[in-house]
Every structure is written in C-alpha cells, then in structure tokens.
C-alpha cells in the first residue's frame, strides 16, 4: 500500500489497527485468566504488560509516514468547522479575498492577453517585424524579391474593412490584405481547405481567381461551421471571392486586440479597387512587414542582412514628388528588424502603461484586503487564545499550532481564489467590452489558461501567507503558563506599536495612494469629456462615402459631390450638410509646411499647418462660426482664384495684420508651393483628436483643383433636432438615388469623440472602482478595529462613565485610538503617492500628477471615511450603561 492508498483507506487502516491490538490484549488476558487469575486481575496485568493502547496506536501511526497528511486533514476539518461557526467573519474574509484575488486575475488575464502572450503560431519567437511604422507596397515587393537573402521568408499585411453587401447599406467585416506567403511564414495551417500560395497573390488573382481565407470564428458565425463552405463565393467590396480555407480557432490575426474575419491576397486589390488600388503607390504607407528568422539567426543578423540590400530597396521605391531633403533622409534612414513574438499591436502600445498601472492598483487593493483579514485573524486569535494555549499545554507543538493557523488562512484564501476566478472571468470580459469602440472591436484571447489559473493560485497562496503569518508568529510568543492564568482575558492589537496599528496605518497609506490615483484619472477624464472641441458633437451624423466603385468619371466628380451634398441637405429633418476630405477627430490628418516670407529661417517642423478640403456649408454643419470674412460658396470652383479659410490658431501663428485678402503659401505635396488667398476666419475646433491642442488649420474648397478624385469622402449631416442617428435611413435612400454604387458608413460624431476617450474612461472607471473598493476595505478595517477596542474596554469605559465621564469624552477616547494609525498612514501615503506620480504623468490631461488639490481632497475624503468608520462603534461605546457593566464585573 502506498502512503496515498493508506491515506485514502484511512478508516479501514484504523479499524484494523484497533482490531489487531485488541486481539493481542484479549489473548494476553485469556492466558492470565487460564493461569488462575481473577477476571479483573487478568485484565489489569494484561494492560500493564501491553502498555498504553493509545500510545501504541500513535507509535504505529507515526510508522505509517502519513502522519503529516493526517494532521493536515485534521487541521482542514477543524478549520472548516471554525469557519462555519463564525459565518460573518468567513463571509467578510472570503468576499474581500474574492474581490481582491478576482481583480488581480482579471487584470492579469488582460496583461497576459495583451502584453505577454505570444501569437499562436509555429515558433513565434522567430518572428521579426520591420520596425517603426508602415510601409508601401513597392517597398514590400522589393523586400519580397530579397526575402531569402534576409531571412527564412517574409510576409506583409494590412488591416482593412470589407463590405459584404452586394448593394446598398454596408455590412462590414474585419479583413486583411495579405501577401501570398503570409500564412506559411507565420506558420498558421488551415483547419479546412488550404491557405494562400504565392501564385494566389498575382495581380488580378491566381490560377483559381480571387480567393479568400476565412477565420474560424467567421466560419462558425456566418456558415454555421459547414464543411461545404470551401468553394463558396463571398462578395467583398462588390467583388466575388472564392473561399479556399479556414484558419484554426486559436489564430485571431497578426495584431493583438484585433481579430480578422476574411483574408485576401494583396494582388487581388487590383480587381477590387480597380485603378484606385495602391499597389504601385509609393506614398501609401499601410503595410506591416514581418519575417521569420533562419534557424540560429539573431534579430541583429537579420537587420544587417537587410541593411546590405537596403540601398537597392530604397532606390527602387523613392516616393514621388517628395522634396530633395526628404528623399535624402529616406535613402539614409536605416531599416531595422525587431522581435515580434507577440505580433505588432498599436493596441498594446496604447494600453501597456495603463494596464501595468491597473495591475499595480489591484495588487494594492489585495494588500489592503490582506491587512484587513490579518487584523481580523489577530482579533480572532486573541479570543481563541485560551483554546490555543490549552492545546499548547496539552502538548501540541508550537509548530503544529502555527500550522493550524496557516491552514486556516490557506483555506480562506482558496475559497477566495476559486470565487475570485469566477469573478475574474466576468470582470475581464466587461473590461474588454469597455475597450471596444464603434470603429474597432477589440477581441482578445482571454480563455482561462494555465497561466491565469496558476497566477491566481500563486496570488492566493501568497495572500494566505501574508495574512496568516502575523497571527501565527504571535502565537509562538505566548507562554502557555501565563496564557492559562489569563483565562482568555487578554487581547492583542493594543498600544501604539502593535501589529494591528501598523497594519491599519499601512492600509490607510495604500488607500490614499489609490484614492489620489483615482482622483487624478477621474479628473482627467472629466476634463476631456467636457472639453470644448468647437464641434457640435451631438448634432452631427458622419457618413463615410466610399467612391471606389462608382462609374462616374473623375472629371465629373465635382458635380457628383454637389449632387450628393444637395440630396442629403434636402432630406427632411436635416439642417445642413457638407462634404470634406478629412473627418474631424477621426485620427486622420493631412499637413504641409507654410512659407513664411519674413522668417525663412524657421525650420519646417515649426511652420506646419494642417489642411482639409470642404464644401460650402460644412462649417455650419459642425456649428463652427466664422469670425471674419465668408464661407466657401459657388464661386470657389475650378479655374477661380484659389482661396482658403483659416482657423484662429493659424491666423495667430502665421498671419500679421488683417488676415482677409492676404495671400499665404504652403507646400502641397507633388503640386509644389501653392498660393491661396484667405477669405474667411473660422473659430478653432479639434482637428485630428480631442486630446491634442488645436493646431493651425487651413481649409481649402473641395471643389477646387483636385485632379484625381479621392477614393473616400466625409459627408457630414446636421440634424435639425433630436438624435442624428435617426437620419441614417433617409439619408442613405437619398444618396443611393444619386448614385447606387456609393457605399456608405454611418456614425454619429459623438461616437468618434467618445471613442477617442476609451483609454481615459477605462482608467477613470477602474481606478475609481478600485479606489472605492480600497476605501470600503479600509473603512471596514477601521470599523472592526474600533469596534473591537470598544468591546475590550467596555469595563473601563463603564467605570469612567460611572465616575462622571461625559459621552463625548468617551467618543474622543475611541477616536484617539485610530488617530495614530490614520495620521501615520496619511503621511506615508502622501509620500508614496508623490513618488508614484511619475508613472502616471503621461496619462493625465492638463493636470499635474502632484496636483495639490487632488492630494488634499483625497486626504480629506479618507479622513471623513475613517471618522464615519470609527464613529459608529464609538457611539455604541458612549451608550454603554455603566450600571450594567459594573454588575457584570
């Protein structure tokens, strides 16, 4: 029998041991009886000769080698019984542990999914990424031609949204343009059908025509997981594609935080987009380029291999129309590879710092919870002291008693950990939903893998040690003799320097850090959310108009724009409409340097202006008022004098005197320097993002001088009243009457603005929530401490009152009790917050990380919470009836 078997059959083993020993005693007794002794005498002699039955049993158990396990089972049983006996304590302890551990697991699942996890592909550590930014397709084709000199193969891709609809309103799916080598280089096989071959990537499609590979999730969602999906046709941007394969469920795409539904080869863009494709465009920077290291090759070796062919790559891909200095820079700038085991991700860059901060926050919350439970355990240990010392006196070893206390802690922590894991699943799911914006759905692999479960288990054990060690250590210092004499009347947690006081002080300090942090993030969010961006965000519906499928000639485009605008403006309920090239606060931008005649020495970087093209009525649509001059009108068309409207910042920075009628010159890409006359000044409004300070912006008439029509335009529609979203249907109908080949995407402007604040909202929400949780925990801790103190000093208070102490002085007595830990905690907490502020500076908006008002406010708030927590039990102390207490004593 193995020790495990013996443990499992413990009862049987015990029964057999008992039977064996009794059998022996019986035989011995019988022999004595037979030799003529009386029954009683025979029994006495037998027992004498045999020795103590229980001692023998104990020795036999020792021999078994399962004693420690037996004892732990005993400890566990005992622990369970104790927890059942004090349900209130158990509930508070398990609930705060579940919250603390759960919060840690939830955030860790996110940290794991976003920051730590590698791509689910073959040997992800061999993947490298062409660093810093995106690349043009001509660059990719040059890299592709030399990929085997550089590495073990290279791949490129670009995120895109495809429209599944055959006509009319759009139905978007997340798409990827990929090189033919993409799935092979990443090492992602097909679970059904095949992935791409290099031939599929030929311009205009491979031997099987335009083909598509779909993701597992999309296969399940749209095709119900039918195997017959292979060979079916999928319409993407009005072009039919043949589905040839399905990727494994674990593969969500190359970038974390984003998933894909459909991948198609880059070369098919020539069919989908027609002449509008960017495959030969030397200034369209959209591709990510990844490569796989040869066995044994390092990132540095791959980079130097790339550098050796860099001149050819650069020479062959010089962007058109760039000024000479920029071209020189382009040729010079070294290409670099970086490791990319986790895939590239803008999402990761954006959320790295916030995630670590929140991870620290939840760790602190758990520490606060631990301090609470340690205090509770200390108080309980005090009331159990009599029981424990009795056991010591009866011969239990100190180790055994300390272990008993630790086992109880572990029991609590395990219960908390299991509940916490459930809480974590739910919590991380909620957070991911909060991260998604109308424009990008965030998808993360958050399945509970061994790392999250392992992390939770580790946290639970460490937690148990943290709050279990203090009472266990105290136990070791008790002399059983003294303790027995005291009859359980002594208590711990007294005096200025007791463990309890220090725990409470630490709790207050950590809570202050979290409250200060929450204050900073909430105020940042508040500032951003109420920022005056100069746009009526609640009145405007933004329509993305995709012109790539229209049959209208580029020459006749201007007329088409005007027809679209007029059709939208004529819809009932529409107060105004305008078209522009760039959508405000969408993240998109277009800029160029302004020529300053009188100050030619100013470097290019310091004389940039942002640009946009708009139709008449566009400013009014956004509620932007003209400060001087006029809006664009019917005069500003091709052939008429070039005009512009500038915003106030532009005027302040670049124009002297009366701006109206002045000529400004700016560099406009390949068209060179262009002079325009300022005919109007418009009030400042946010351009690219809500957060950025408002930049100088020069608006040009959309209907003037556009040789090649843009593939996309923004149509903005202002609702006369009510929600602009309600206009969607009628505007879509009106535009499809003008040209049914335009595909349209509708979004309210408010969605862009809110989408820009996702990170700030998340930080504010989480830090606020956990700050509140910390306050609650600290409050419970203070309440418990005071309450305990009141109970312990009942007799003393009774006597004081009998001698004439006023009830207010009793309350003051109780308050003095917590003044020391709270004061100490505030000082330490302020110092900690001051130190930690350096890590959050970049996440704040218009707010100093050491903002005195926030620090002061947090301290006052914390004091108020402490006062309430102490006042509740103190009031009870003041109501003690001295007569009753004295009678009890």
């Amino acid at each position: 029998m193995t020790w495990l078997g013996r443990l499992l059959r413990r009862d049987r083993v015990e029964r057999q041991l008992d039977a064996e020993l009794r059998d022996h005693l019986e035989r011995l007794t019988n022999d004595y009886r037979r030799s003529g002794l009386s029954e009683r005498e025979a029994r006495r002699r037998a027992r004498l000769e045999f020795g103590g039955l229980e001692q023998v049993k104990e020795e036999c158990r020792d021999v078994r080698g399962t004693r420690w396990l037996d004892e732990i089972v005993q400890d566990l049983r005992y622990g369970f019984r104790l927890l059942r006996q004090s349900p209130a304590f158990t509930f508070v302890a398990v609930a705060s542990l579940a919250l603390g551990i759960g919060a840690n697991s939830a955030i860790f699942a996110l940290v794991d999914g976003v920051l730590l996890k590698s791509l689910p592909v073959r040997e992800p550590q061999r993947l490298i990424l062409l660093d810093d930014g995106s690349w043009t397709n001509p660059i990719w084709e040059q890299v592709r031609a030399r990929q085997l000199e550089i590495s073990d193969g290279a791949a490129a891709w670009n995120d895109v949204r495809f429209d599944l609809a055959r006509a009319g309103a759009t139905e978007f799916v997340e798409g990827l343009w990929t090189s033919g080598s993409f799935f092979d280089v990443l090492g992602v096989p097909a679970v059904l059908g095949r992935t791409f071959t290099v031939a599929d990537d030929n311009r205009g499609g491979g031997p099987d025509g335009p083909v598509a590979v779909i993701s597992y999730a999309f296969w399940q969602r749209r095709f119900g997981g039918e195997a017959s999906v292979i060979g079916q046709t999928l319409t993407l941007d009005r072009t039919p594609f043949t589905i040839v394969g399905v990727t494994p469920p674990s593969f969500l795409g190359p970038s974390q935080g984003r998933s894909f539904d459909v991948a198609v080869p880059l070369g098919t863009q020539a069919i989908v987009r027609g002449p509008g494709h960017w495959l030969d465009d030397r200034s369209t920077w959209v591709l990510e380029i990844m490569a796989r290291l040869k066995p044994g090759q390092t990132v540095e070796l791959a980079t130097s291999a790339l550098r050796s062919v860099q001149p050819q790559i650069r020479e062959a891909t010089l962007p058109d129309g760039w000024p000479q200095p920029m071209l020189d820079q382009y040729l010079k700038e070294g290409l670099t590879f970086v490791g990319a085991a986790a895939g590239p991700s803008g999402f990761r860059t954006r959320y790295q710092q916030p995630l670590w901060i929140i991870m620290a926050v939840v760790a602190i919350v758990l520490l606060i919870a631990c301090a609470n439970i340690a205090n509770l355990m200390l108080a309980r240990a005090a009331t159990r002291r009599h029981e424990l010392t009795l056991r010591l006196a009866l011969g239990a070893s100190r180790f055994r008693i300390a272990r008993q206390l630790l086992v109880e802690s572990l029991l609590l922590a395990s219960l908390g950990g299991v509940l916490g894991l459930l809480f974590a699943r739910w919590g991380s799911w909620i957070i991911v939903r909060q991260l998604s914006t109308p424009r990008s759905t965030v998808v993360l692999d958050l399945t509970l893998d061994w790392r999250v479960v392992g992390f939770t288990a580790l946290v639970a054990v460490v937690t148990a040690l943290l709050f279990g060690v203090a009472p266990a250590l105290r136990m070791r210092r008790v002399d059983p003799n003294d303790a027995l004499k005291e009859q359980g009347r002594t208590f711990v947690g007294e005096g200025r320097h007791s463990i309890g006081t220090w725990l409470l002080g630490a709790q207050v300090a950590l809570t202050l850090v979290l409250v200060v942090g929450a204050g900073l993030f909430v105020r940042t969010f508040g500032k951003l959310a109420t920022l005056d961006i100069g746009l009526d965000k609640d009145a405007v519906l933004v329509v993305d108009v995709d012109l790539s499928q229209t049959s209208v000639d580029p020459e006749a485009r201007h007329a088409l724009y005007e027809r679209v605008r007029a059709a939208a403006a004529a819809v009932p309920g529409v107060a105004g409409a305008g078209l522009s090239l760039i959508t405000p606060v969408s993240g998109a931008g277009w800029n160029g340097p302004v020529e300053l005649k009188d100050r030619p020495e100013v470097p290019t970087r310091e004389r940039m202006t942002f640009l946009n093209s708009a139709t008449p009525g566009w400013f009014a649509t956004y509620g932007s008022r003209l400060r001087a001059g006029r809006d664009f009108d019917a005069r500003d068309v091709d052939g008429a004098p070039a005009v512009a409207v500038a915003n106030q910042t532009f005027i302040r920075r670049y124009v002297k005197g009366d701006p109206l009628g002045q000529i400004v010159r700016f560099e406009r890409g390949p068209e060179g320097v262009q002079p325009v006359q300022i005919v109007g000044v418009v009030q400042d409004a946010a351009y690219r993002s809500v957060r950025d300070p408002i930049p100088p912006v020069l608006y040009l008439p959309l209907l003037q001088a556009h040789t090649k029509g843009p593939g996309r335009l923004n149509l903005s529609v202002r609702a006369a009243s009510g929600s602009p979203v309600l206009l969607t249907r009628s505007v879509a109908a009106a535009i499809s009457q003008v040209d049914p080949d335009l595909s349209l995407t509708f979004r309210p402007l408010a969605a862009f603005v809110d989408g820009a604040l996702v990170r700030e909202r998340l930080l504010a929400m989480l830090s606020g929530f956990f700050g509140g949780l910390a306050l609650l925990l600290a409050g419970i801790g203070l309440y418990g401490m005071t309450s305990y103190s009141v109970n312990r000093r009942r007799a003393e208070i009774g006597i004081r009152m009998a001698l004439g102490a006023h009830s207010s002085s009793v309350v003051a007595l109780m308050f003095r009790r917590i003044a020391w830990p709270v004061g100490l905690g505030l000082v330490i907490g302020a110092a900690l917050s001051y130190w930690a502020s350096r890590y959050v500076t970049t996440l704040l908006y218009n707010l100093d990380a050491r903002d005195p008002a926030t620090f002061f406010g947090a301290a006052v708030f914390l004091c108020a919470v402490s006062a309430v927590a102490a006042w509740l039990p103190a009031r009870r102390a003041a109501r003690i009836d001295p007569a009753r207490v004295l009678r009890e004593a």
């Binding site: 064996e20 059998d23 045999f50 020795g51 103590g52 036999c60």
Partner: protein, 115 residues
Amino acid sequence: MTTPKSDLPQGTLDLLILKIVGLGPLHGYAIAQRLQQISRDVVQVPQGSLYPALHRLENRSLLVAEWKLSDTGRDAKFYRLTRKGRAFMQEETNSWHRLTAAVGLILDAAEGEPS
C-alpha cells in the same frame, strides 16, 4: 520477574522479529510469546512496542500481513516473511555475528591484559 532484564540494543528487535516470523506465519501475540520463550525471559519489551516494529517492517516490505481465521475463531493478522525480508535477515544476521565476534574478542583480550 526475578531474572535481571536487559534493554535491547538498537535494531535488534527488528532482527529478532524477522527471525521468528521466518519460521512460519504468526500473529502478533504469538510473536510476542515466542520472543519471550526464545530469550528465556531475559529480554523483555512491553508487548505493545512490538507493533510499531511490526508495522515498520511491513512498511518496508520485509513482512507482509494477511487476515486469517485463527484458533480463537476470529480473524487475526498473520505476518509472513517476504523474499526481501529473508535476504535482509540473512545480511543482518551475518553482520550481527561479525559485530558480536569482534566485540567479544575485544572484551576477552581486555580481560587477559595485565593491568
């Protein structure tokens, strides 16, 4: 109880038990009886302390036990020597003889020495 009693040297009890059980399967009480008979009441251990030793030997797979009907009409636990136990007993017996011979030599020599 008149004969002087000696304490058993460390480990000797195990060897004695193995030797006794080696003659045939026995239950605990019988082993205790034989121990007393063989040692002619010189060696006396409290009978209870036999059991930890028996269980230890069982744990080390030197003995196996099975429950069989005994003369009292009830099941009793009978111990039997395993092959491993027999080998162990041989080895221990030899080393016991070597040790006692050596100790005897030293003691005899010491007595013969003129002081």
